[in-house]
């Protein structure tokens, strides 16, 4: 399993995912730089993504759409904030209308991805910062199935500890 660690910080509204892949940094970078590869892993389960526009260069705006199991469409955009190929990039992600106009009411989720060479390949660290619980909820309401839930949460840990000592 390539996921090494998931850290959820309620105080700062961030989630940090650390993963390692058995491939060189330049190859893992292409998973995000190449729209045809990005769209194969960006959509939630059952919601395949298509990137209509995408270039991983500062100032660029990406536009993608995701199709749900009943044919419904959900659009999103990325603002590319910073790029240091192949070490890191920073984007802002938001829901959008079919024309790619961002929905400012739910706001942007900031995502910073860092790529680091390690002995067996590449370590990828992705820090997502969300602005509101509603943002998070819309994101996960899409296509997430019960079977995919993992009981690893911070609160879960606290409760488990408590049950053990009770």
């Amino acid at each position: 399993m390539p996921v090494l660690d998931v850290e959820k910080d309620l105080d700062r509204s961030t989630m940090t995912v650390t993963a390692e892949f058995a491939a060189p940094v330049e190859r893992v970078w292409r998973l995000y730089a190449d729209p045809r590869q990005l769209e194969r892993h960006w959509g939630p389960p059952g919601w395949p993504a298509t990137f209509v526009e995408h270039a991983l260069v500062p100032g660029a705006r990406s536009h993608y759409l995701m199709r749900g199991p009943d044919g419904e469409e959900s659009h999103g955009v990325w603002n590319v904030v910073a790029v240091d190929e192949p070490r890191s990039f920073e984007v802002e992600d938001a829901f959008a209308d079919a024309q790619g106009v961002p929905d400012e009411s739910t706001g942007w989720i900031r995502m910073v991805a860092t790529f680091e060479p390690v002995a067996d390949g590449t370590r990828l660290v992705v820090v997502s910062t969300f602005r509101s619980a509603e943002q998070l909820r819309q994101m996960i309401d899409m296509g997430m199935e019960d079977g995919l839930r993992q009981a690893m949460g911070q609160i879960d840990g606290i409760l488990a500890e408590d049950r053990a000592t009770a």
Partner: protein
């Protein structure tokens, strides 16, 4: 007590706000084990009873704990259904990322198969 499994935005924000504080998370963890009085809850903390009462109030407004009066003491108990709602939100976002990472891993494995 019936709790809506899909709380509205204000409710969700309240749950997140309530859990965004280490003392409140600690208080919640302690009442999950067993019901406790506010004064018993306050004992380990270097803060006034009033401050702890305030924290309990925030947890109560988020629906994470409930209060009942037993004699002169207020007893605080956890509301497990609500705790589950908050936990599930974060767990599902985590699941989305686990799905993405697993898919990326498969895409990289495809390269190796093509090379062979």
């Amino acid at each position: 007590m019936v709790v809506d499994a899909e709380p509205d935005q204000v409710e969700v924000d309240r749950i997140f706000h309530a859990l965004a504080d280490a003392t409140r998370r600690d208080i919640l963890a302690r009442v999950v084990g067993r019901e406790q009085s506010v004064s018993a809850l306050a004992r380990p903390y270097p803060m006034s009873l009033a401050a702890v009462q305030k924290h309990v109030g925030v947890l109560e407004r988020a629906g994470l704990v409930g209060r009942t009066r037993v004699g002169r003491e207020q007893q605080v108990h956890a509301v497990p259904e609500r705790i589950r709602v908050a936990r599930e939100l974060l767990d599902r976002y985590e699941a989305l990322w686990r799905h993405r990472v697993a898919t990326m891993d498969r895409l990289l494995a495809d390269d190796q198969q093509k090379e062979q």
